[in-house]
Symmetry: C2
Subunit: 216 residues, 2 copies
């Protein structure tokens, strides 16, 4: 029986950063890497790196040399599911939604955007990067027919809750929510919020503290 190590959300957020770094290092022709090296490059502690890597990698590192980069990259990619493709739809094709429909990087993460949905009749029927924009009343059918699990929600805040209800009743299992509000959905629905206002609040606060420090 396989041992199951649990992983925290904080750790999950770090793996893509490790991965990017490891790939860049591999491309330089380096074949093995140690926790202290990674820690130094990414400005974190080596203890944290070791604990994180132990979770995703079945085999352990070797004292003195560290870990094999290729193996490690593969372990992280498998752990993050980059090797299995999931279908997703973009709901709300505004500036941000359109950017996501055009974004090539998602395929790297195993995410495949099938189509977009919008209320605006002037957008319906148009194609963005080869993917069609449908009207909202086509959404439910497409989700259940193609068994889409993931919705990228980029509608205005005041529409977000109504749309999320529709998504849930159509069978969507996870919502990647870019509206800066709390979605009121059943607790078994996975919601991951990306709140730019929150992020900016942190940035502004740090910046103000810095400016205050400089001026005194």
């Amino acid at each position: 029986m396989e041992e199951i190590k649990s992983v925290s959300m904080k750790q999950l957020e770090r793996y893509p950063v490790y991965l990017k770094y490891l790939i860049s290092i591999k491309d330089q022709g380096i074949t093995s890497i140690s926790a202290p090296m990674i820690a130094k490059a990414l400005d974190c502690t080596e203890e944290q790196v070791r604990k994180d890597l132990q979770i995703v990698s079945p085999d352990s590192g070797k004292p003195k040399s560290g870990r094999d980069i290729k193996t490690l990259i593969n372990d992280i990619e498998n752990f993050l599911g980059y090797n299995d493709v999931s279908d997703a739809i973009v709901v709300g094709v505004g500036h941000l939604g359109e950017a996501f429909m055009r974004y090539k990087g998602f395929s790297e993460f195993g995410l495949n955007v099938l189509a977009g949905f919008d209320l605006d009749e002037t957008k319906i029927g148009k194609k963005v990067d080869g993917k069609e924009i449908f009207s909202m009343d086509k959404m439910s059918n497409l989700i259940s027919r193609l068994k889409v699990n993931i919705a990228i929600l980029t509608v205005p805040s005041d529409a977000a809750n109504a749309v999320s209800k529709l998504l849930v009743s159509s069978g969507i299992k996870a919502i990647w929510n870019f509206a800066p509000i709390h979605l009121d959905v059943p607790e078994d629905i996975v919601v991951e919020n990306v709140n730019l206002a929150s992020s900016l609040a942190v940035l502004s606060h740090k910046l103000n503290k810095k400016i205050l420090k400089e001026n005194k």
Copy 2:
């Protein structure tokens, strides 16, 4: 002497969510609100709401009735700096960068995008929502001349570190980084990362756990 309550990053991230909710409630004509009501609507604990609000609001709530919504909204907006405008530039006018140049919501947060910068000669000189796209070699001069503090960094990962060095040497104080890598900048530079790959890693992991649970 004013008492200074310290605030955590986690708390800062929550204020914009409170604010959105309070504004929507105010628009319904409600004039006062209690911590338990907010907690129930936003799916968190009332203790947390109380502690968070105590930090931003000088006057305390009243037992039974709670807090005055208008006052509270004003307190949060002031605390987050939404009433003072900061200038910013967008560096890297790809799909995401262009979306940010077009995004109207920033003004609500007190953020004013002045201009964009890009390497691509076909983009240079064009205007996006009235804001011009300049070549990268104009960047340093504009930053120092207009004393711009904030850069929204939306360049590809492999360019991010070189560009951030240029930003820092030009006098930028804070970088809102959308490249999924660690920026190697001096520690007094404020960096706020928005890593979509990290966010997606969390979503995928939760989704996989949910699917595993359903299938057993």
